[in-house]
Symmetry: C2
Subunit: 388 residues, 2 copies
């Protein structure tokens, strides 16, 4: 049972060593090198024979559920979940990831951030979700063998992040972006995509969505802090990018492997907030990786560590006087809960060694003369204080 630790380490090591050697050999890359915007289509997925075979029935999204039509006042809600789904644990992988797909079909989140996706689990997700979700994975930069820097990171990535967008409620705008942390020895990356809700009442309130799996283990604290700084810098850039004035809110999160002091160390600016903190730090979803509550992974020796590894950061476009129209919108967190906390009856294990975090957001228009709609959670107050 606890050769999983060994397995984990082994895989990390294998990948690390691999990049030293065969930086040029493309095996099964998470890429698209076909210019299809990094969004996986059935056509691009040559390795995917079962794609679209068994799509879930069309799920009605909750986003825009409260939306009016046409020029009605802006309104809308979104559900976002982030989850490290532990594709590196091969035990009951089929059962666990079928259950994950079922969970997604049942709860119909609008946005799904996944970490530790591997090809076998990607196939499962595609099989069940292709008709209802766009599945976005990182591009895999083609390594240039004469470029050492490229060689150190351009190799096929054995596990990676993914963003799923509910086709009914939200759609990708433009190509996703994959930034590979240059100093990572675990091929960690930041996967991001701009997205627009489909509901007419919310379609002008675009989001910049990003997910990442920051460098793991205490040993790589320094690199993880660097990576978080990169994340924060990207978030700041997106929040002030004049090319995408319609983006009002940036949400980046995932398995960040963070210990609290590291957030300060990274210098995350104060206007970028931790969603769990914004929502009052509920104890019920503090420890997203908790060996006392989840025995998918068992420490040798019987220790029961737990950590708040999975986090979401949110930033709102500044509302300067000269801000674009989207500057008046903001997606505001309303609630947060932990998911995946039940054992699967089929195998007695959990979907992952991490729990997921499910966050509900509502669209708010905090201009004078009344709330634009939906922003009546505890978050509304925090936002009002924060707004200039």
């Amino acid at each position: 049972m606890d050769d999983q630790m060994e397995e984990y380490r082994k895989r990390q090591r294998e990948q690390y060593q691999k990049r030293q050697q065969d930086g040029t050999e493309q095996t099964e890359a998470p890429a698209d090198e076909k210019g299809n915007s990094g969004q996986v289509s059935a056509a691009a997925a040559a390795d995917l024979v079962e794609a679209s075979v068994q799509d879930a029935g069309a799920a009605s999204s909750s986003a825009g559920a409260s939306a009016g039509t046409g020029a009605s006042p802006p309104s809308g809600s979104l559900k976002l979940v982030t989850w490290n789904v532990d594709g590196l644990d091969e035990g009951q992988i089929q059962l666990r990831h079928t259950a994950l797909a079922d969970w997604i079909k049942t709860h119909k989140p609008d946005i799904v951030y996944l970490q530790e996706v591997v090809y076998p689990t990607l196939r499962i997700l595609r099989k069940h979700l292709t008709s209802t979700y766009d599945i976005i994975i990182p591009t895999n930069p083609r390594p240039d063998p004469s470029d050492m820097e490229s060689l150190t990171r351009g190799i096929p990535c054995a596990y990676f992040c993914a963003v799923l967008l509910n086709k009914q409620s939200i759609q990708a705008c433009g190509a996703p972006d994959s930034k590979w942390y240059p100093q990572s020895c675990m091929m960690r990356h930041l996967l991001s995509i701009r997205a627009r809700p489909t509901a007419a009442s919310a379609k002008d309130a675009e989001l910049l969505l990003g997910t990442s799996h920051l460098e793991s283990t205490a040993e790589y604290k320094n690199e993880r802090v660097n990576q978080l700084s990169i994340v924060a810098t990207n978030m700041e850039g997106w929040l002030s990018d004049p090319d995408t004035p319609s983006v009002c809110t940036v949400i980046v999160g995932g398995d960040l492997n963070l210990r609290d002091p590291e957030v300060k160390a990274a210098g995350v600016p104060s206007h970028i907030r931790d969603v769990w903190e914004l929502l009052g730090k509920p104890d019920s979803c503090r420890y997203t990786w908790d060996m006392a509550a989840n025995d998918n992974l068992v420490m040798q020796g019987g220790g029961k560590p737990r950590c708040r590894f999975d986090r979401l950061f949110i930033g709102q476009r500044p509302q300067g006087s000269a801000s674009p129209p989207s500057g008046r919108y903001r997606w505001v967190p309303q609630s947060i809960e932990m998911v995946g906390t039940d054992r699967l009856s089929s195998c007695g294990r959990f979907i992952s060694d991490h729990f997921g975090l499910l966050v509900k957001l509502e669209l708010a228009v905090p201009t004078e003369g009344g709330e634009g709609g939906g922003s009546k959670g505890q978050k509304a107050k925090a936002k009002a204080k924060k707004g200039k």
Copy 2:
């Protein structure tokens, strides 16, 4: 043989635990609480029965050897050695430290920085060197049991730093200062003393001398970086202290346990220089702690690590137009060599697991119209470049 490692760890742990408990009990403190300026006199050393019993014959110092008399042009040379003498290793301690005292009597350095002095070895040094050297050890602040912060550092210190000043060539000015790093879990401290050469030709070129043993082991990198920052801040303060305008040069060093990246991390200002680097980074004295060259300590498992743990930093008082007269002097490193590299014939071991660093300095007066004397080493050039 390699229960030394165990011993080391054990002692460190004991001390750490001790401070949690008996913060108030004074055992054998390195102190003077008698207001004698921290400089150990035979009278203050109640535990020292053999003091002055067997003094070495008066050694003629090299400092001022080249000095003229009276109002002749400033000139002078000084020899400074820094050495972690591993008093925590009790093996052959008497032989090893008698050999250390012999080395000092033979080479007659003007300034000696020692680390890991313990009471038994202090007695040996006193026995052989009291008549020829002033032996300065840290004050031991009396802990106030109601003051938690004091409790964490005010306990008797089992091993400590010392500064020895050759009575013939240099004399302490005022009281020494002991700064205890507040976050140290090893009771580490910075021991400093202002000193004036006795030679008439150099008596206006005072030095601020400091030695320290920074937090050991890779594990305590962060605390060590903090401590180095404190050292650098103190050096800057001394270099600009209007109360001691006669101090022209500050030299602080010892067993700093540094790995190269930590120096940057500590933000040591660029005008504070590493003496070994100033002198061209000679390979012959790079590794002051070298298991390949010194088997006083043997790693279990047979590893042969080596590090440049022992370092000296030097800073010169800025020569602003309004600078005091001493601003025109500077003690300039001329050469550096490693000492203690021979096995003792008596026991086949080395004096310490660390080698010592012996540095020769000469007094320079780099004003326009010719060198003031002595500054013709390779260092003179570096100084000339550095001088404003």
